[in-house]
């Protein structure tokens, strides 16, 4: 494989990967659920708490200034990582789910009965349920663009669903259940050409390819820190400044105000207006460290390595009789969803775990996708840049052991 990609050296940054699980070397292939963190991220968080912690934005003392500088410095790191135009466009959240809920609660306030929100069949529940709740509150209608048997968006059908009442389009960049990479540039272009804003759920894309929100031209881009080697409980909503400027506050509290009086309150400027209360300061600092780490590894090299892992997994698992892939899109991210004849995904997950292989089994919080394919669930192996071909071979061997065990 690529001579310049020294995966063994990178793995030394992730101590959690070097352990035995149930008597076997751990093969951690559940990165779409959550990635692992390198020492650089743990050290950034530890250093912050050991030396610099205080509350931010309001203290007159040295530690508060330091903490503020670190937190706002993290915002600048995020801005640069996704090439946003301004730090005013970077809202820290607890994750992708909160970022989408922010848009649903704030942007959603202007929706009226009969308005439409358009998503696709392949969305994660976190890009479905916030809109269903918004529809209950507002009388708006949720429309769903279909996918084909390979798990690809039917683009013409999607475009036909863009109507005069469509107020927002919200689509996954990458499907967490199928691995399909959506044609987001084309989706954004077709949608914005009709004057409709677009939210891209980037939870499964952000750690796997370089994201440039200005090049994508989307209005919102949401992602989580914990899927990109950052801390849990961190995430980002990118919003185009012109659209964020008009968003009403969605959570009230400290930091999001300028003045508070019982005769009336004035709100802070962007992005603080959308961040109430003391934020996850250490989380933002850890997230920035994760972004610096990924940048140092190189997003293009990560994408190339993961493409090789995907090709290897597709080839090796494809040799196993009775194994059927679910999701065979032409453009896929580094994950494989599959079923093995005669073995329920949960049984498969347990048997693989006993051989040190960590995968996800079930509906992957995408029940409409499972319904589309007439399945209860799938087994899903998802890769990160620190995975190796040998781990995929361990997965394939473990699947064969499960087959022998469950053979009638």
């Amino acid at each position: 494989m690529t001579a310049t990609f020294d995966v063994a050296a990178l793995r030394r940054d992730f101590p959690i990967l070097t352990q035995q699980v149930n008597g076997h070397p751990l093969a951690y292939l559940d990165n779409a659920a959550s990635s692992q963190r390198p020492l650089q991220v743990l050290e950034a968080i530890g250093h912050y708490y050991a030396h610099d912690h205080a509350n931010i934005h309001r203290g007159v003392h040295t530690l508060s200034h330091r903490a503020t500088d670190l937190y706002e410095g993290a915002r600048e790191t995020v801005r640069a990582f996704i090439n946003a135009a301004s730090v005013r466009e970077i809202v820290f959240t607890s994750g992708t789910t909160e970022a989408i809920n922010l848009v649903a609660f704030s942007f959603g306030q202007r929706l009226v009965p009969g308005d439409e929100i358009l998503v696709t069949t392949m969305e994660h529940h976190s890009n479905i349920v916030p809109w269903q709740l918004l529809c209950e509150r507002s009388g708006a209608v949720l429309r769903v663009a279909p996918i084909n048997d390979a798990g690809e968006l039917l683009f013409d059908e999607f475009v036909q669903l863009l109507g005069p009442r469509t107020r927002l389009v919200s689509v996954a960049h990458v499907s967490n259940a199928l691995g399909s990479v959506n044609p987001v540039r084309e989706i954004v272009a077709a949608t914005r050409a009709r004057g409709i804003p677009v939210l891209v759920d980037g939870a499964q894309a952000i750690a796997h390819e370089a994201i440039d929100v200005r090049e994508l031209d989307c209005d919102f881009y949401a992602f989580s820190g914990h899927k990109m080697c950052g801390p849990t409980g961190t995430g980002v909503l990118y919003g185009r400044e012109a659209i964020l400027r008009d968003l009403p506050p969605w959570k009230g509290g400290g930091d999001m105000i300028l003045t508070v009086s019982f005769s009336g309150t004035t709100y802070n400027e962007l992005p603080y207006r959308l961040e109430a209360g003391t934020p996850h300061i250490a989380g933002a600092i850890g997230l920035a460290a994760a972004m610096r780490y990924l940048t140092a590894v190189g997003m293009a090299r990560i994408a190339a390595w993961e493409a090789q892992l995907l090709a290897h997994a597709t080839a090796e698992l494809g040799k196993i009789p009775g194994l059927r892939f679910v999701g065979t899109a032409r453009r896929k991210a580094g994950l494989v969803s599959f079923n093995v004849d005669g073995i329920h995904p949960h049984d498969l997950g347990t048997v693989l775990d006993q051989q040190g292989v960590a995968i996800r089994a079930g509906h992957h919080c995408a029940m409409p996708v499972m319904e589309r394919f007439g399945l209860q669930g799938t087994a899903r192996a998802s890769f990160a840049f620190y995975n190796t071909p040998a781990e995929i071979d361990q997965l394939a061997a473990a699947v064969r052991v499960a087959q022998r065990m469950f053979a009638a």
Partner: protein
């Protein structure tokens, strides 16, 4: 080839019942019935119970789920068919308690499921059929799920 740990979960008798589930059918009689659902993994079971003179005169189910869930349903019907309803209820309680506390003290073939107690994520797979059977006996309307606080975990 099977690791020893896996043999405690997937005993031969469990695999046998999952491959050839006993009493898995939609009965031709109308009795009490209830549905059980594990929203975490999608296991679904509908249990049918016919009670005559406070005795479980016939029991059947339709299940779609993992090997543990299906085998547990099958073993449950073998252990309960023809028994008095109070004894069935007591056995259901005993089963849930045993799986939640190390697996000991299970009578007959049900002991084959004792190993499930070592796999916390799978206990609810084994207890789902029993919850559905109890709901059928109680003629509770609607669906029971593994996430409800009642009974065992």
């Amino acid at each position: 080839m099977t690791a020893p740990d896996l043999q405690t979960l997937y005993r031969q008798i469990v695999l046998d019942h999952s491959r050839q589930p006993r009493h898995q059918r939609r009965p031709d009689w109308r009795g009490r019935e209830a549905e059980g659902h594990n929203p975490l993994c999608g296991d679904k079971i509908r249990v049918y119970a016919r009670v005559h003179d406070d005795r479980l005169d016939d029991v059947a189910y339709e299940a779609s789920g993992c090997a543990i869930c299906v085998a547990s349903a099958s073993l449950m019907t073998e252990a309960t068919l023809g028994r008095d309803v109070p004894a069935v209820r007591a056995l259901a309680g005993q089963f849930g308690t045993a799986l939640g506390s190390g697996g000991g003290n299970l009578p007959g073939d049900l002991a084959a499921l004792a190993g499930v107690s070592q796999y916390p994520a799978r206990i609810r797979c084994a207890t789902l059929p029993w919850k559905a059977l109890l709901a059928a006996l109680d003629a509770s309307p609607g669906t029971v799920t593994t996430e409800q606080a009642s009974g065992d975990r």
